[in-house]
Symmetry: C2
Subunit: 423 residues, 2 copies
């Protein structure tokens, strides 16, 4: 396990104390050029970073010595010295990640490039509260650690939770579907238990990051990642960086008002998007349709399974049940209406639709697309694509893993992180 003591690496050499930050920044830029921008030669790093050739050579040498970069023989050369290819040594350590949904826990061990090494999932209920749920996460982490042949040291832990989080402290803030979690010190709990740094974020943010790093959103600079599950939320990439907003509350689109009256949302307001279009809303209205026998499909599902869920509606729609199709279309129109406003306001180049309901076939996505393109301004939709999530249920743990490595290698933490490596 990594020690967390600070070894101010760059201050040990040459006594050029005041130059240290500059070298550190350069080292970090070089590492990110290889790690995130796929530069694989010193020449490409020079181009990507804008650093000079000599500085790049020095920084690469240091990163090789620290074990954060590795070098391999390049492609067959036609003569002269064969080019050596640099890559990020993702096996230099590993991270643990947990993605807590309303009804599930996903955990994973991942390498430093957020590639999953081991993954486990089980059903859970977030409403059981932090002691019960986080106790299970700890046990699942212990199992991963026991079975894991992960190389290197544990660098840190990343956790996504289904509600708003103050990112700076890692504490949930009045999360509507997480009774008992308000202000809970998740970060401190895992930090004490595992002795490594911990970051916590809203799951839609970790999912957006996962999809941006390794999924369909790769290469886009302005992305809205929408989760349509029991509830509805979104995570944003703005101008090539994750956007959390002034209080870490950005992306909370589930509580945008779409109706003047009607259903009271769990947040206390009336007419919220998720109270009318989320999975819980679909299940509620499907139950009414089943009991009133308007839909034979749903009535049969109720009789067979004892309850109807959003999944029953999705299955019914696939089989052509008109009530189920109508319910999904209503959800799609409401989500599309909110996304049309967001397209006019934010002008993303990509909207990714993920979450449980998004995997329910084409009807929801088609209705969302049709509504967005009809209601948005031409300029804002010229390049816009609306696509389903490519990573599915592992988007969250991939993103939580990437979050940990990004934070440890951020400008604020970089000196401490490589100090630990050198120690």
């Amino acid at each position: 396990m990594m020690t967390r003591e600070r070894a101010p690496l760059s201050l040990e050499r040459g006594g050029a104390e005041l130059e240290a930050p500059s070298e550190l920044d350069a080292t970090r830029l070089v590492l990110d050029a290889v790690r995130l921008a796929s530069a694989s030669s010193r020449m490409e790093i020079t181009r990507t970073t804008g650093l000079g050739r000599a500085a790049v050579a020095q920084r690469v040498a240091e990163l090789l010595r620290l074990g954060l970069l590795e070098e391999s023989g390049g492609a067959p050369s036609t003569g002269g010295r064969p080019p050596r290819r640099l890559s990020f040594r993702a096996s230099a350590g590993y991270v643990l990640a947990a993605d807590l949904g309303a009804t599930s826990i996903n955990v994973a061990a991942a390498d430093l490039s957020a590639r999953i090494l081991h993954h486990r999932a089980e059903d859970s209920d977030i409403a059981h509260g932090p002691e019960a749920v986080l106790g299970r996460v700890e046990a699942m982490f212990d199992e991963l650690l026991a079975e894991s042949a992960a190389p290197g040291a544990l660098w840190g832990i990343g956790i996504g939770v289904p509600g708003p989080v103050e990112f700076f402290t890692g504490r949930p803030v009045a999360p509507p579907i997480m009774p008992g979690w308000d202000g809970y010190t998740i970060r401190e709990r895992f930090g004490l238990r595992f002795g490594v740094p911990v970051w916590v974020d809203n799951d839609v943010n970790t999912m957006a990051l996962g999809e941006w790093r390794w999924g369909v959103a790769r290469g886009h600079r302005n992305v809205v990642w929408v989760k349509i599950g029991t509830g509805i939320g979104s995570g944003l990439i703005s101008d090539g960086a994750q956007h959390r907003g002034a209080d870490g509350a950005a992306g909370d689109i589930g509580h945008i008002q779409v109706a003047e009256e009607g259903v009271v949302c769990r947040c206390g307001n009336i007419g919220c998007l998720e109270a009318l279009a989320g999975g819980a809303a679909l299940a509620r209205d499907a139950d009414v349709a089943a009991r009133s026998d308007r839909s034979r499909w749903l009535a049969q599902a109720l009789e067979r399974d004892g309850a109807v869920t959003a999944r029953s509606v999705a299955l019914g729609a696939c089989h052509g049940d008109p009530v189920c199709v109508g319910l999904l279309q209503r959800s799609g129109r409401l989500v599309g209406q909110v996304l049309a406003s967001i397209v006019n306001f934010f002008n993303p180049s990509l909207i990714v639709i993920g979450g449980g309901l998004a995997t329910s076939g084409d009807i929801l996505l088609a209705t969302i697309r049709e509504t967005v393109y009809r209601r948005s301004l031409p300029l804002a939709t010229r390049e816009l694509r609306i696509v389903p999530s490519g990573l599915g249920e592992v988007a969250g743990v991939i993103g939580a893993s990437a979050m940990v490595v990004d934070q440890l290698l951020s400008r604020e933490r970089f000196e401490e992180t490589i100090g630990c490596l050198a120690a």
Copy 2:
């Protein structure tokens, strides 16, 4: 006038060709630390940029030589060498800026810190088309140049127009209230006429930039600047940088749908925010109220002036006319409803309300505030402030001036810009 020939300054010295980008980047960082982050000593620059002390001293020396920084005696010292204070030499050149509104032209000459040296305004009608309107702008620029004792060379021209612009080419894209302007080559026209680089942007973007650089939004990292005039639009600051979106269309909130049926908007859709809450909508509904004699104030205004405008409504509200108060409250509720969605989605720390209607007294602002705070999530409004614009009608020309200098000193243009200075 500056020549636009390229003099690759950094390549002239020492032959360290491949090191040049690194020095250039450092020079730019040092300049921005003084220009934008108010660093005024070499030590503060070291802290702000993360560059080493020796590098900062070299870069400062080069910037002094180029005339982009200047040095003055510092505060009285208690002993030793008095500290010298560095500042951006904003008088090294000047820029011309134009802010085209639906019914007005504002032009200004400004120094390189976007401080106005000379300012002129006149009524105009954007619907007269680019030849007529831009001909007037050129004539007003000529007057400014003739009367101006602006120091240094003309560096560039910035223009804000009341509609969507593809920022990369500077061309309006299907602007709803600008007949004849679609695709017009504003940039090329002024570039040929004045021989300097030109940037064009949506006026809400230039106004947001102006307010962020010199107005009430200074120091905030996430800002929504809302213009409520004849139409309604917004400009965004996201994580400390201007956000234009994937196609430069971000901020176009006037065409977000707020009603299912009713008024057809000039964009062709039904129920757009600006068709129900903008100045033109107020004037339309005030006219109906005047003719039906529901409001004595408006009937008198119609008789006296021959027409009622949004301004008549604002004045009537100040005098307590209940129909005028009601009309402003309706606008405020609709704008507030859209802004509440935006607060949930984007989580800004500041919303600035500007434009003609915003100066109409407290009723509109109070209604907007009340609606936003009632409809947004607690976490997203914890730090949120909603304030009126501080710069008024000059926000646009200040922002257009700042845009030009920011672009000329951006990473992409910096080498060329200081090359011109050295030539």
